[in-house]
C-alpha cells in the first residue's frame, strides 16, 4: 500500500523520478489475494446460462485454492456493449490479474477482445470456437487476415464436432437420409448453414440430402412454410439451431399438421431441461449435443469431486435440475487456480498468458490443453477442444425429462446410457 507518508519518504530519499517508477508498478504485498474478474450474462435473455454461477462461486471460495483469490463478478446483461464496458471496469478500476468469461459469443467476444487490447490475460468458455475465434477477427470473411491472440484463450468444442455427433446419431436409425434444416438468420444459424464450413458440405459427403428453406428471423410465429417444404421433400430428420420459443412454435405446428420426423437433433433450443419440459409430452426423444453431464467420467482438479458429485451438489443446493454450463463454469475456475499456481507473479500478464498456453489440465469437462488437437492451424494457439457427445431427452413418468447419452463415437471415454430411439 502506498500511503502519502511513504510516498513522501521515498521521494525524499530517492528523488521524484524513482517515485514515479514505483507508482507505475504497484508492489504486490505479501499474501495479497490474486484478483480474478468474472463476466457472464446473469440477466437478460441469456441468463439461463449463468444460473449456476452463485453455486460455483461459493464452491470456489470454499475450496483450498479459492482462498488465495478474490473474484469480482460482473453481469453482461446479455448485451455485448455492456460486456465490453464491465470488462473495461474490471481491468482499469479493479486492476484484475486474470479475466474469466463465460457463455455465448455475445459475452465472451467483447470481453476477450477488450482483454487482448488491454494486454490482460483472459480465459473464455461456453461458445463454439468458430464464432469466438472468427467472430473476433477484423475481417471474418478473409481467412488470410486472421491473427492469433496473445492474451485471449478459449476452451470448448466447435461446429465440426456438432456435425459429427448429429450425423453419428442419425446413423443409428433407419432413415431415408432426407434432412430438413431450421437455420435462423443469426450468428449460429448462418454458421450452421454455411455452404463451406457448416452442415451442407458434410451432409452431402455422407449421402444425406438437405432441405434448407432459408434463413428465417428469430421469434417467428408461423412455420407452415418450413413444414410444407419438409413434407414435400419427405424429410425424416430435422436439425437446426432455433431459439427455444421458435422451436416450440415449430414443433407444435408440425404436430398439428401431422408432420413427425424420425429424429430431431436441435442445438441451443433444447439445451436446458426447462425448455424441453415446456414442450409437454412432445419433447420425448428429441436429441441434442451434450458437452457435459453428471455421467462424464471426469473429476474436478479443484475439489476432487466427480461430475456426478458436482451435479448432485448443485441440485441439493438449489433444488433445480443440473444444466450443462455448470461443468464448464466450474472448469473455468479450475483453470484459474491451475494457471495461477504455475506463475511466480500473478501481476505479470505476459507470464500468466504463457502459463495459460502451457496448460495441461484434467478438468471436470475433460482434458484442457492448447496443443491444437483437432483444430486448423490458425486457431491452434488459442483454442483447446473439449469432448462432445450426443444425447436424447427421455420423458420420465413424473413429466420431467432426463438427458441420456446415446452417441459417443467422437469421445469413447464418455459412457453411453442407451441407443438412439425414433420419435413417435
Amino acid at each position: 500500500m502506498i500511503t502519502r507518508r511513504k510516498l513522501l519518504q521515498s521521494s525524499a530519499a530517492t528523488g521524484l523520478g524513482l517515485a514515479a517508477g514505483t507508482l507505475a508498478a504497484p508492489a504486490i504485498a505479501q499474501g495479497a489475494k490474486i484478483k480474478l474478474g468474472y463476466v457472464s450474462p446473469q440477466s437478460g435473455p441469456l441468463a439461463a446460462f449463468s444460473e449456476a454461477d452463485k453455486f460455483i462461486l461459493d464452491n470456489f471460495a470454499a475450496s483450498e485454492a479459492g482462498a488465495n483469490f478474490e473474484v469480482i463478478v460482473k453481469d453482461s446483461q446479455s448485451n455485448p456493449n455492456r460486456a465490453a464496458d464491465v470488462a473495461g471496469e474490471l481491468i482499469v478500476d479493479d486492476e484484475i490479474d486474470l479475466m474469466l468469461v463465460a457463455s455465448t459469443p455475445e459475452t465472451t467476444n467483447p470481453v476477450a477482445s477488450t482483454c487482448e487490447a488491454e494486454e490482460v490475460p483472459c480465459i473464455s468458455t461456453v461458445a463454439p470456437w468458430q464464432p469466438w475465434f472468427i467472430g473476433q477477427q477484423g475481417n471474418p470473411g478473409d481467412p488470410a487476415s486472421w491473427e492469433p491472440f496473445y492474451y485471449a484463450y478459449h476452451f470448448f468444442w466447435g461446429l465440426e464436432d456438432v456435425i459429427s455427433v448429429f450425423t453419428a446419431m442419425w446413423g443409428q436409425l433407419e432413415t431415408n437420409k432426407q434432412v430438413g434444416a431450421l437455420f435462423p438468420n443469426d450468428g449460429d444459424g448462418n454458421a450452421w448453414g454455411d455452404p463451406n464450413v457448416g452442415f451442407p458440405p458434410v451432409l452431402s459427403e455422407l449421402g444425406y440430402s438437405l432441405t434448407d428453406p432459408g434463413r428465417y428471423q428469430n421469434l417467428t410465429d408461423d412455420f407452415s412454410a418450413q413444414i410444407n417444404a419438409f413434407r414435400q421433400a419427405n424429410v425424416e430428420i430435422v436439425t437446426g439451431v432455433p431459439i427455444p420459443p421458435d422451436f416450440t412454435t415449430f414443433w407444435s405446428q408440425a404436430k398439428q399438421q401431422g408432420f413427425t420426423p424420425k429424429a430431431a437433433s436441435i442445438g441451443k433450443a433444447i439445451l436446458f431441461p426447462q425448455a424441453v419440459e415446456a414442450l409437454g409430452n412432445a419433447g420425448n426423444n428429441l436429441s441434442s449435443e451434450v458437452w457435459w453431464s453428471p455421467t462424464h467420467p471426469f473429476s474436478s482438479s479443484l475439489t476432487g469431486a466427480s461430475s456426478a458429485e458436482l451435479a448432485q451438489g448443485y441440485m441439493a443446493a438449489t433444488s433445480r435440475q443440473w444444466t450443462q454450463p455448470i461443468g464448464f463454469v466450474h472448469a473455468l475456475f479450475e483453470m484459474a487456480a491451475n494457471v495461477m499456481g504455475r506463475v511466480d507473479d500473478a501481476g505479470d500478464g505476459d507470464a500468466v498468458a504463457e502459463a495459460i498456453a502451457a496448460t495441461q489440465l484434467d478438468s471436470i469437462v475433460g482434458r484442457i490443453a492448447f496443443d491444437g488437437a483437432g483444430l486448423p492451424p490458425f486457431a491452434a494457439q488459442n483454442v483447446a477442444k473439449t469432448p462432445l457427445v450426443g444425447g436424447q431427452w427421455r420423458l420420465l413418468d413424473n413429466g420431467s425429462y432426463d438427458l441420456v447419452i446415446v452417441d459417443n463415437s467422437s469421445a469413447p471415454e464418455i459412457p453411453t446410457a442407451g441407443v438412439m430411439e425414433e420419435i413417435s
Binding site: 432459408g214 412454410a225 426447462q274
Partner: protein
C-alpha cells in the same frame, strides 16, 4: 393446396396478432396513449396464469378466468394512479412512462421467475388438429382466431350499444366537452385500460399455450400489434382484426416464397397499406 394452406395459416396467425392488438387499439383509440409496455403486460399476464396453473393445478383456461379480474384491477390501478397523471397535451410523458414500465416489468419478472423459458401446459390441445377438406388445422390456432373475433364483436357491442361505450366515444372525440356533460374522463380512461387488460389476459393465454415465453419476450410481440392497429385505422376494432390478418397472411405468403422474407413481408404489407391509405383502412374519426 399448399397455397390455400399457407393463406389459411396466415389468417389464423392474424387472429393471434389481432388479439395482441385489440387491447392496444382500445387504449390508443380512446386516449391516444401509446402503451409501450403492452407486450410486457401480456407476458406479465402469462406469468400470472402460469402461477395460478402451478399453484392451484388448474387448466390454463380456468386459470385465465381467475387471472382476468386481477388484470382488470391492475389495469384500473395502473391508469388511475400512474398513467392519468401524465396524460396531457404533450404525448411524450406517457410514452416515457410506459417505456419505463416496460423495463421495470421485464426486470421484475426476471427477478421473480428467472430467465427460464416457460409455457402454459395446454396438454393434448396444444398439438390437436381437425381435418378440413384435406387441410390440417390446429385446434389452438382455430380457438385463437375464434376468440379474436369474439373479442372484437364484444368490444364493438360495448362501444356502440352501451352507455359506457357512448362515454368512451365521447371522451375519445373531445374529453373536455365530455367532461362538461358530466363524464369524468379519468374514470373512463381507467375503465378502458382495465378492459384492455381483460383482452391482454386472453392474448396471454393463447401466447403462453402457443409458444414459450420468458421475461424479455414482450417487446418483440408489440410491433405486430402496433402495425395491426395502424393498418386497421385508428379506433376501428374490426380494422384491427383485418390489420392483423393482413400481416399474418403477408408473413406466411412471404415465408412460402422464402423464409427470409417472412417478417419483412409483414412489414412491407404495412408500408404498402400506409402508402395507399395513410390513415389506415377504416379510420373511425377524423382527427
Amino acid at each position: 393446396m399448399i397455397w390455400i394452406d399457407t393463406i389459411i395459416q396466415g389468417v389464423l396467425l392474424g387472429g393471434l396478432y389481432a388479439l395482441f392488438a385489440a387491447g392496444l387499439s382500445l387504449v390508443f383509440g380512446i386516449m391516444r396513449l401509446v402503451n409501450l409496455a403492452h407486450g410486457d403486460l401480456i407476458v406479465f399476464a402469462a406469468y400470472l396464469i402460469l402461477l395460478l396453473v402451478s399453484l392451484l393445478g388448474l387448466s390454463p383456461f380456468l386459470a385465465a378466468i381467475i387471472a382476468a379480474p386481477i388484470m382488470f384491477g391492475v389495469g384500473w390501478a395502473l391508469q388511475r394512479h400512474v398513467l392519468n397523471r401524465v396524460l396531457g397535451p404533450d404525448i411524450l410523458p406517457p410514452l416515457l412512462v410506459t417505456f419505463g414500465l416496460s423495463v421495470v416489468l421485464q426486470n421484475a419478472l426476471l427477478e421473480g421467475f428467472s430467465a427460464d423459458s416457460q409455457r402454459l401446459p395446454a396438454g393434448e390441445i396444444a398439438t390437436a388438429s381437425v381435418q378440413m377438406g384435406g387441410l390440417n388445422l390446429g385446434v389452438l390456432p382455430l380457438l385463437t382466431f375464434a376468440s379474436a373475433i369474439l373479442v372484437i364483436v364484444g368490444l364493438n357491442q360495448l362501444f356502440y350499444r352501451t352507455e359506457l361505450g357512448r362515454a368512451f366515444r365521447a371522451t375519445s372525440d373531445d374529453a373536455v366537452t365530455a367532461g362538461l356533460m358530466g363524464i369524468r374522463p379519468e374514470r373512463i380512461f381507467a375503465t378502458a385500460t382495465a378492459i384492455a387488460m381483460l383482452v391482454v389476459t386472453l392474448a396471454a393465454l393463447y401466447l403462453g399455450m402457443r409458444a414459450n415465453f420468458d421475461p424479455n419476450i414482450g417487446p418483440a410481440r408489440l410491433i405486430y400489434a402496433f402495425e395491426a392497429v395502424i393498418i386497421g385505422g385508428l379506433g376501428s376494432l374490426w380494422g384491427t382484426l383485418i390489420g392483423g390478418i393482413i400481416i399474418g397472411v403477408a408473413q406466411t405468403v412471404g415465408a412460402a416464397i422464402n423464409p427470409e422474407w417472412q417478417i419483412l413481408a409483414g412489414h412491407l404489407a404495412f408500408l404498402i397499406v400506409l402508402l395507399i391509405k395513410p390513415r389506415g383502412l377504416f379510420p373511425r374519426a377524423v382527427d
